[in-house]
């Protein structure tokens, strides 16, 4: 093996552990987010919202979507209510 090859070989292998490190960082960030999990009050919240809104508008459960999103330090609770087509 020439000096150059050896140098190249080494630098190629260097990448191997570096690739492992990077893949772990990405997957674990993802899994840690999942671990904190969706809080278990979400289904109940959705049900109560449905009850309240139904007093005023005819909506069904599938038209109310409640979800929590995490972006770094920020948590966003997103409530999406699709009202029935008033013309229908």
């Amino acid at each position: 093996m020439s000096l150059i090859d050896r140098w190249l070989g080494r630098s190629m292998e260097k990448q191997s552990a570096a690739v492992a490190h990077e893949r772990l960082q990405i997957i674990l960030t993802h899994e840690r987010n999942g671990r904190t999990g969706t809080p278990d009050y979400l289904p109940a919240l959705q049900k109560e919202l449905l009850a309240v809104i139904s007093k005023y508008v005819a909506v069904s459960a599938e038209n109310i979507k409640v979800q929590l999103e995490r972006q770094d330090q920020l948590e966003v609770l997103e409530v999406n209510i699709v009202l029935p087509d008033s013309r229908g």
Partner: protein, 270 residues
């Protein structure tokens, strides 16, 4: 107050039993009354590593089921006066470990021992959960390899959420990272995750690095924990782990590959 230490990892075969045997022996060699418990019900191995397999009469499950008294099941170590082994059952399954039963046995042991070391089975099922439930501290055994690191991360999540301390909102289990089967030469070549890589990902304090060594296999053949082979690097690494656990500040050793023999030595032998 007795301290309960769980040796855990998620992934199998990374060195939990080896670590439990050597850590417990190391504590005993420093003069502490120590008991090491095999939680790997159905796959007991700690007895072999400790070299007491022929003296097992009763086991952990017998004690839980009150078929035997604790002192009938405890086996005194051959080499250290203040070390005892509580073997796992070979014939039962992990469901035989009940939370109440384990709690009672640990409470009884706590009256007599300073340190209770729990050798966890692999996985994240009932046996592993039982081994960590009552823990005060945890040695998280990790190999420099992607799946082991990921599983350790998973176990850290479980330590923080499924232990008694977590359930009671007490101070969390104190976590220690123990990297084992470390091969510095492969790290130098960039083939293996380095200590820095692993620490950077798992973010818990490092208590030691145990090198990959043939001495571990040889010691297991004999049934003598490798920490007794005082001239080996693994033994010294495990001694350091115990000393750091007791509060000593020691620099990490065995992180560098031994220097390659010079050209002349390679040509002419030496």
């Amino acid at each position: 107050m007795a301290k309960i230490i769980v040796v855990t990892s998620g992934k199998g075969g990374v060195g939990k039993t080896t670590t439990s045997a050597n850590f417990a022996t190391g504590l005993a060699l420093q003069g502490h009354r120590t008991v090491v418990i095999d939680f790997d019900v159905g796959l007991r191995n700690l007895d072999l590593i400790m070299g007491c397999e022929r003296r097992v009469v009763y086991d952990f499950i017998n004690v839980i089921n009150k078929e035997a008294k604790l002192n009938q099941a405890l086996i005194k170590d051959k080499h250290c006066d203040n070390l005892f082994v509580l073997p796992a059952s070979q014939t039962r399954d992990k469901e035989a470990l009940t939370r109440e039963g384990v709690g009672e046995v640990l409470a009884e042991l706590a009256e007599e021992f300073e340190y209770i070391v729990c050798d966890s089975p692999a996985g994240i099922e009932s046996g592993a959960l039982m081994a960590l439930y009552y823990a005060d501290e945890a040695l998280v055994v990790t190999n420099p390899e992607v799946s082991s690191v990921r599983d350790s991360d998973r176990i850290l999540g479980i330590l923080a959420s499924k232990s008694r301390r977590a359930e009671r909102n007490e101070e969390p289990i104190k976590e220690h990272l123990l990297i084992t089967r470390y091969a510095p030469a492969r790290v130098d070549k960039g083939e293996m995750l380095s200590v820095e890589n692993i620490c950077d990902i798992l973010c818990i304090p490092l208590i030691g690095v145990v090198p990959e060594s043939q001495a571990v296999l040889l010691a297991s053949n004999e049934g003598v924990p490798v920490i007794h082979k005082a001239d080996t690097d693994v033994a010294q690494a495990y001694q350091d782990v115990v000393s750091r656990f007791m509060g000593d500040e020691l620099p990490m050793r065995f992180l560098d590959a031994p220097p390659k023999p010079g050209l002349l030595k390679r040509l002419f032998g030496g």
